[in-house]
Symmetry: C2
Subunit: 143 residues, 2 copies
DNA sequence: TTAGATGCAAATAGTTTGCATTTGT
DNA sequence: ACAAATGCAAACTATTTGCATCTAA
């Protein structure tokens, strides 16, 4: 391979942070990006296996950890339990509503948290890179 | 035991939701309440074991699931990985900042999400019972 | 009294490790 | 060239299950 061409923005971030763009990493990233924003670790494992069965489980987990440390994805508990669901953080943030009865996820845009983030950065001397906002409640069908 | 006296508000919610107030449940609840708001499942397991070793692991997990379904607590990924950290949702909500470098947690009050919640309830026909807001970034010491 | 909850111990599932080998840059 | 990353398979850890027994209401 030659240069810097054709990199997805997330792949570019990986490289900029000093990590190699390996086949395992790019495959995991591709699976995440095609997921629509919510995918469990075992779904990632299955899809990666289907695409290239030579990629080992350990590398998938290592990649998920790496992407998490870069705030490209974030693990959260959405289904029953045990396995994390990874959420893509497209512009550094993600929001949804979880029905605590049927586990349905309702996405929404626009959380209006920019002002709060700015205030926290100044008051607490932190540099914020993203956020995840989850509301819990009962969806229309369950009420 | 006789009646309805001396129940913590959370225990009362359990009973109101139609669940029995058993020794295992009250012990787990006590451990959570003494935790200061953040505690991993294995810490809960250890503390419950120390208080009453006759309580089985399975009941601890069953209680954590039950409390989660009632939005009394919420599992989230805060440390390295694998084990969830349960967060108490005192007034139905909880907020913090996670340093993505050192994993330090910085708590803050006041998220100003009441208005957003009300708007979502009306627009999406849901009944919201709580929320969790996590910011990710770099803390003062790590920058 | 009795549906609901428990404790046990075994089974399952999910994740991590160590290390020799391979690969991006 | 060489530090970084990989794949493997075994080890580990965390959680769940089935069921006979117990208990809160």
């Amino acid at each position: 391979m030659s240069g810097t061409e054709n990199l997805s923005p997330r792949a570019a971030r990986l490289r900029e942070a000093g990590h190699k763009l390996t086949n395992a990493r790019l495959t995991v990233l591709g699976v995440l990006e095609e997921s629509g924003g919510h995918i469990t670790s075992s779904e990632v494992l299955d899809k990666v296996e289907a695409i290239d069965s030579s990629i080992g489980r350990a590398s998938v987990f290592r990649t998920l950890d790496l992407l998490t440390s870069l705030s490209i994805i974030r693990p959260t508990y959405l289904n029953s339990s045990m396995t994390p669901t990874y959420v893509l953080m497209p512009d550094g943030h993600h929001h949804h509503i979880v029905c605590t009865n049927c586990n349905r996820i309702i996405e929404f845009e626009n959380c209006g948290l920019g002002a709060i983030a700015a205030e926290l950065e100044e008051r607490l001397h932190v540099k914020l890179t993203g956020h995840l906002l989850e509301f819990y409640g009962i969806c229309e069908k369950c009420s």
